[in-house]
Symmetry: C2
């Protein structure tokens, strides 16, 4: 499957360190952000979470697109097999190289990209496995917002509008709520 | 106090619907995002949360800047007094007008701006009180990432680098963690 926004490659997020119940809301925000801003899917490492997967499946059924979420994925072998298949790995971390200095290099690669976003305790190995350690900012920030800004820059600030197969569409409005249900 | 990033105006976030413990992590992400991406502070509506305020005070002491967090603020009178002082109100909502169509108008206003971000149950009144209802995307998304993308666009994708008075600085690195403690 190719990304509609980024025709040469797939963009999938690897969400590290997911714990139930502590991380359920933040990981849901990671998934909604990934979907809305044009990624193809999310792998959630280590922990199975059928509730999270169901929530995102429902959002995708209602609002369209082909977004997928897979939970309970072993992170080390996921990264290895991604790289063995010719894909590259971006790790978002405050310790990385500044986004403005590295985004052109990342964009110019037409490989599939796995974007690793973490919790506080990221294994040091990930810094070495990543092709690019990228700092959206060298300040403490949320992994949700780091992912949002990274994807928006990756797609050159062309926000995604095409979500085929939607049952529900929100219509832009100055001062109210307008939706259309198509089936 | 003027925003260092945006010399003509202050940018303050109003975080609605904060509940303890349910929203503590997401509201922390809202505050970290606001600070890292150049806002001046956050008002957290209705609920006092000294732990949240302490966390952000500690981050600002360590990493610099003049960011402030005030919790337990009544939202309706906060919006009224903001408007009475000549400020304008931006409400981030999936139901609003698309960001790309409205950002120039918002940027060209040199008023102070209160950026309202919500939880699921935003009072309908906020849609009417807002000068601009803005949809980063008309898709379900996180308020954390909506805020991040909005601030990044508002500041024309010039990510903030100047945080005066920092005790700790993170140094960009290709494959590791490097920090400097200045005192």
């Amino acid at each position: 499957m190719k990304s509609a926004r980024y025709p040469h490659s797939r963009i999938v997020i690897l969400r590290m360190g997911h714990r139930i119940p502590r991380d359920q809301r933040v990981t849901t925000h990671v998934c909604l952000t990934a979907r809305a801003l044009g990624a193809d899917g999310v792998y959630v490492s280590d922990t199975h979470d059928s509730q999270l997967a169901d929530t995102l499946r429902k959002v995708t059924e209602d609002f369209g697109g082909n977004f997928t979420v897979e939970t309970g994925v072993p992170w080390r072998s996921t990264i290895s097999s991604w790289k063995n298949s010719g894909g590259k790995v971006v790790h978002l971390t405050a310790y990385g190289k500044p986004l403005p200095k590295i985004i052109d290099e990342i964009r110019s690669s037409d490989c599939d990209k796995l974007v690793v976003v973490g919790s506080e305790k990221m294994p040091g190995e990930v810094f070495l496995l990543a092709d690019w350690n990228v700092a959206v900012t060298n300040q403490p920030i949320s992994e949700v917002s780091a992912l949002a800004v990274f994807l928006d820059w990756l797609f050159k600030h062309r926000l995604r509008e095409d979500f085929p197969g939607a049952r529900i569409k929100i219509l832009p409005s100055e001062h109210g709520k307008r939706i259309v249900r198509s089936r």
